[in-house]
Symmetry: C2
Subunit: 385 residues, 2 copies
């Protein structure tokens, strides 16, 4: 998934019992191949800010491949071929996970499915990348494998952002693929996201004499009605339908049990299609919510990140879509496709695992998902775009 902003919904899916399963205790046999590699990566804890051990493991593995130039920048690891190909493809994935939830810190295998925090988001994708880095020494493009830190937390910790700032040479590419879980289909570009905190003013009074004041919480009624009634645009860009959204994610207000409150605030999160800038998206919100606001109220844009257009007309990304054999869809959330696009690199999201189980106690990835994703990317790397 994506930085801080995108930390997924804890609790979704916790009702699904996955049975006893097989814990990966000391001395137990690890499965072989790609599934075993994924299990080994899940067994290395790498909650955001503590990516050192997994970076060590990834760096060590990549240094076994003589066709790769490996650089480590902090706990970010970048490995590049230098075959003089006409085009360079960047394949990037984040090393960090959200904190374990519901006791899923240990990898656990049930049949052909691996459970555990990060299994889908995105150690499955990292395993596919490492597997291909180690087995496709002469891809049709030059390839940059980028393993980076701090994607699940605030932007300031994002390793890709640090690399753009300090080592942009390492990220130069004609196109990019983010290995986020997409269920094996291409999720094109990404929507933008912004948050606005709206504080409505009132004036205090005793609740037995409310006419001497003005209840700021009561003033939320028309505002919430407007947000709840919002119907987003659904622009189709490059064949993909982006669905704009507007949700109140926080509400607060109140002074004490007998006081008419003089302030109430909401935080709204707006997801907007990549045909709009952040400023345009904010302006549309002001138009929608303005009628519920008075001059004394406050409107504060707390964060905004633009989206990325689908860019599926790029030959490398078009070849990726062709290799999946499945129609692409729009990425409704926000991903680092945005920061890649901001640096001129068209990017798509593609990786094993169901995005809906990310950040849930039920997080998992299956052998079949891993193998299908690896096969698609291997075809792309061997055949080219």
């Amino acid at each position: 998934m994506t930085a801080g902003a995108e930390a997924g919904p804890p609790g979704v899916g916790d009702s699904e019992d996955v049975g006893p399963g097989v814990g990966m205790g000391a001395g137990e046999a690890m499965p072989h191949g790609l599934f075993g590699l994924t299990t080994a990566l899940v067994a290395i804890p790498s909650v955001s800010h503590v990516e050192g051990p997994i970076a060590d493991a990834v760096e060590t593995a990549l240094r076994l491949c003589p066709w790769l130039a490996v650089e480590r920048v902090g706990d970010n690891v970048v490995a590049r071929t230098d075959l003089g190909r006409r085009q360079r493809l960047l394949l990037a994935g984040h090393l960090d996970t959200v904190p374990p939830v519901g006791g899923n810190e240990e990898p656990r295998i049930v049949g052909e499915t691996l459970y555990g925090v990060g299994s889908a988001d995105m150690k499955g994708g990292l395993a596919v990348f490492l597997h291909l880095a180690g087995t496709v020494p002469e891809p049709a493009f030059d390839v940059t494998w980028c393993f980076y830190v701090g994607e699940e937390v605030a932007q300031e910790f994002n390793g890709l952002r640090h690399l753009w700032e300090h080592r942009p040479d390492l990220l130069e590419a004609d196109a990019a693929i983010l290995g986020e879980p997409t269920g094996g289909v291409v999720e094109a570009g990404c929507q933008g996201t912004l948050r606005v905190r709206i504080s409505l003013a009132g004036s205090r009074a005793h609740t037995a004499r409310p006419h001497t004041g003005r209840n700021a919480i009561h003033r939320l009624a028309p505002l919430l009605t407007a947000v709840a009634g919002y119907r987003g645009r659904r622009p189709v860009l490059g064949g993909c339908e982006y669905v704009e959204q507007l949700q109140v994610v926080e509400v607060s207000g109140g002074v004490s049990g007998n006081v008419v409150p003089d302030e109430a605030s909401v935080l709204v999160n707006h997801r907007f299609a990549p045909d709009r800038t952040s400023a345009e998206a904010e302006a549309s919100l002001r138009e929608l919510l303005g009628p519920s606001l008075d001059p004394g109220d406050r409107w504060e844009l707390t964060d905004a990140a633009a989206g990325a257009p689908p860019s599926l007309d790029h030959p490398v990304l078009a070849a990726l879509v062709a290799a999946t054999g499945t129609a692409p869809v729009a990425k409704q959330g926000w991903t680092d496709a945005s920061s890649l696009w901001a640096h001129g690199v068209p990017a798509a999201n593609f990786g094993p695992g169901d995005p809906l189980v990310a950040h849930t106690p039920d997080e998992h990835v299956s052998v079949g998902e891993l193998e299908r994703a690896a096969a698609v990317l291997e075809t792309l790397l061997r055949v080219g775009g």
Copy 2:
């Protein structure tokens, strides 16, 4: 004002600058008479839970009057005449104040006005009571003077409640007057108050895919609309119009910036006229708000206290009204008139000072207010009902 529930609106009135004034520093001359007595009481800090020093002062003063039997129960002080009169009048006032606000802990005199925390609520009333206790040795009724603790905090600390529990003999009376600030008019009985916490349920989802969940904050829209549109009953009881109120005093909800929240809650405060029981008042709320609730939502009555009817047909209270020369009004807030009525004692509120300045940085009482209130009560005590 009244217990916990009624802690007034901090901040109301803070815009009014009271000028430099005269601080009551060591060695400065204290004004004489009733005004001086009030100033001396304001100079003794007595924030709730620390009423010992002011109780010592009050007890000492009352013990100077040989016609009074004085008892101390904790930091509550009760002084009674025993003249064998046909009727007994209870005059009760709380010793505690809310915490100082805006630097008003020291008494400060500007012209004929005394500023400081507790000046209106209700050391002005206490001073009037002490003055009359000491100067009217043979009132037309037997009189019980009751100075009690813990009225500005939660009911469990209320001294009157403790006395009802442990020494009900000390509170026996035919009628009662609470010396709360009423601007010199009789405020009859009191309204009831209840609070309900309503929690609406939803289900979590990523804000980029809100259709997979249900936004509990959005569900507040119709509920807040119903509360904001509420028009209370205005029953006229004993010639006094009680105006029922309904206010949201707290709202909260939210999980994180990208999660559709699965819960949102409001705390509502309902003020209801004394012709309804708490249960009847709660039922009327359920009728109003029921259409906004679903079976999975929660409805929790957090506190409820009945009101007290005006009782102005009681001869003693009727005589009080006559002595003011002013039409009585309904008490819209809740006061200990409620607990007195629950024990069979009809009660009214009457005292010097503007109730709207209570609990504000601007709290004050004037010489004129004190003297007018004292004159009314002296007439009542000397002439009888």
